[in-house]
């Protein structure tokens, strides 16, 4: 009974590798974002910023490097929010009745789905990072081998906890919904503000006060803080803004994400307890 989540995980990964087109497009989409939006925007932003003086001793990074972290976050957000959809399909046409009538602890459905979602995100993030570096994102520039390893692990830690938070949310919503269309609607509704009210594509400092507060506590922003810290460094200049992250900033961001994941887990747990599937 203890390893019930491993069964759910096994089954979800079977589906992941089985749908080759879906697998491929989920990797292609962020690559295309990076390639088109990233390169196009960075050529114009970098020209705009060319006149801005760089304070001595500060490490300036191009826009592509800056937004690559945002694209990683966006991909993780999408994948995670859609991660729970299998629950909805199972509920309407699939194995949910079998699972709910089995002795497996119901929380393990949540854990299993979350674990496979995190795995998917890890695979995507590593591929996007590699692709980003290939087309010119200056990740891990000037890092030693040990620092690169630490950097990658740090990024994966942030990606992992962020993915968990949204996977729990997705699972909780999915188990409460009747139709995939409804879930799709909610996900679309959620992604827009989460993505744009964050520091994914631009600094949040110039936002109006209300939006700024929202953005600073946005899990997306918290995660991107972590990625930039581990991929670029604690001190850099991008889009004319000087970013300085202290260790405690990053620890706090991580803690924020843990709280977020805890809340969404509670939500999913509560929705699963209420779920009636006959």
């Amino acid at each position: 009974m203890t390893y019930g989540f491993a069964t759910i995980y096994w089954r979800d990964m079977i589906r992941f590798v089985r749908f080759k087109t879906l697998l491929f497009s989920s990797l292609l989409q962020p690559a295309l974002w990076l390639a088109f939006f990233g390169i196009a925007m960075s050529s114009s932003f970098d020209r705009l910023m060319a006149g801005v003086p760089v304070p001595p001793g500060v490490h300036a990074v191009g826009y592509l490097t800056f937004m690559a972290a945002g694209i990683i976050a966006m991909t993780t957000l999408f994948t995670s929010l859609f991660g729970g959809i299998v629950i909805l399909f199972d509920k309407n046409w699939g194995l949910m009745r079998e699972i709910l009538a089995s002795p497996m602890n119901r929380n393990h459905i949540i854990f299993g789905i979350a674990l496979s979602g995190v795995t998917k995100s890890f695979i995507q993030v590593i591929i996007i990072m590699a692709f980003g570096i290939l087309i010119g994102a200056a990740f891990f520039a000037g890092f030693g081998a040990m620092q690169v390893v630490l950097g990658v692990l740090g990024i994966l830690a942030f990606v992992g906890i962020f993915a968990l938070g949204f996977l729990f949310l997705s699972a909780g919503i999915a188990v409460s919904m009747e139709s995939p269309e409804g879930l799709q609607g909610i996900i679309t509704l959620l992604t827009m503000p989460i993505f744009f009210a964050s520091n994914a594509l631009y600094p949040v400092d110039s936002f109006p006060e209300f939006l700024k507060v929202l953005s600073i506590y946005n899990p997306m922003t918290l995660m991107i803080n972590g990625i930039r810290y581990f991929a670029i460094g604690p001190d850099f200049l991008a889009l004319g803004k000087h970013y300085v992250y202290t260790t405690s900033d990053i620890a706090l961001s991580f803690f924020g994400l843990i709280c977020f994941a805890a809340i969404t887990f509670w939500f999913a747990w509560w929705r699963f307890k209420k779920a009636v599937v006959t």
Partner: protein, 335 residues
């Protein structure tokens, strides 16, 4: 796997005054029954009788609204986890993942129930042979025929050896040979000690497979008994007669000592008799002759489950071709 049944708990199924409503509609209306350990027990009832609803409560998918229910000695409300550890289920509706293969469906189930690797392998091989899906082992379930899907689901339900196995219309849509093979296997599982609760609207299935049957309609249990006992409530034999004056004939025959009950039909009527019909017939014929009532048709048979069902529910279960139905079938305007 399962713990020790609660003290005083009864290892089969125990249900008392169970009620379940969907909104204002009462789908299960105060049923009580008890299934002994090791027994095969059937719910026989028409569409919408409340059979699946009752099963869903017993397997803890629906929460209990009113009454009491325990399975394998565990209360479905207080100890749902223990109930789930003690049961196996074959659902009425298809519950498969279209994109998983036959083998994956069974393997997933085995893992879900914590079966060991060797046990899974052995059981999967054995069951694939039983349901004749060995050649389809690596086929995705969406490419199976309807009957093959059903066979796969039955195989899945039989993977474990639970204390109590629930089968909701298990052989729906299967061809006759396959049904018989399933029955044999289900009996085999039962012989290994599994208590079986099944719902069906196949008379022969209830008749051949179960130790006891409850006839259920409109959410109520109408009568419970063994197949033999239920048939016996209709008397030893059924005699169908068509005469020149049915009303007069019925009046005369009501007085006969061995006639238990009479039901009118469109063209004739049916006598339920307490004695061997072949012995009663001469007396009947004589009595009618004396009153100058002419007999045009006589038929005699043993009561079947169909007759029992129609007698107690007043309706037929399935649309069967005319003439093949039980004697007690009420045709429009018959009563």
């Amino acid at each position: 796997m399962a713990g020790i049944p609660a003290p005083g708990g009864h290892p089969g199924i125990e249900v008392k005054n169970l009620e379940h409503s969907y909104g204002d509609f009462k789908a299960v209306d105060g049923i009580s029954f008890s299934v002994k350990e090791g027994e095969i027990f059937s719910f026989l009832g028409p569409n919408g009788a409340g059979k699946s609803t009752a099963i869903n409560i017993l397997i803890t998918l629906l929460s209990l609204q009113k009454g009491e229910a325990s399975v394998a000695g565990f209360d479905v409300t207080k100890d749902p986890q223990k109930v789930r550890e003690s049961i196996g289920v074959v659902f009425q509706d298809i519950t498969l993942d279209r994109d998983m293969t036959v083998w994956e469906i069974l393997e997933f189930h085995g893992r879900l129930y914590n079966m060991s690797r060797e046990e899974r392998k052995k059981r999967i091989d054995e069951l694939l042979r039983l349901v004749q899906l060995e050649a389809k082992k690596d086929e995705r379930t969406k490419n199976l025929s309807g009957g093959m899907k059903r066979r796969l689901e039955i195989a899945r339900g039989l993977m474990t050896r639970p204390k109590v196995l629930f089968l909701d219309e298990p052989t729906l849509g299967l061809d006759p040979q396959t049904r018989m093979r399933m029955w044999d296997y289900i009996k085999g599982v039962n012989n290994e000690g599994t208590t079986i609760f099944l719902t069906t609207h196949y008379m022969d299935e209830a008749d051949r497979l179960s130790d006891r049957i409850s006839i259920i309609d409109h959410g109520k249990i109408i009568i419970t008994g063994t197949s033999y006992g239920l048939k016996n409530t209709l008397g030893q034999d059924l005699i169908y007669l068509e005469t020149s004056d049915n009303e007069a004939a019925i009046r005369i025959l009501q007085g006969l000592y061995s006639v238990r009950d009479i039901k009118s039909k469109t063209k004739g009527f049916v006598l339920m008799v307490n004695e061997d019909g072949t012995k009663v017939l001469p007396a009947i014929i004589d009595a009618l002759r004396d009153r100058r009532i002419e007999l045009s048709t006589i038929n005699l048979k043993k009561p079947s489950m169909d007759d029992v069902f129609v007698f107690y529910t007043g309706k037929e279960l399935r649309d069967e071709p005319e003439g093949k139905t039980g004697y007690l079938t009420l045709r429009p305007g018959g009563h």
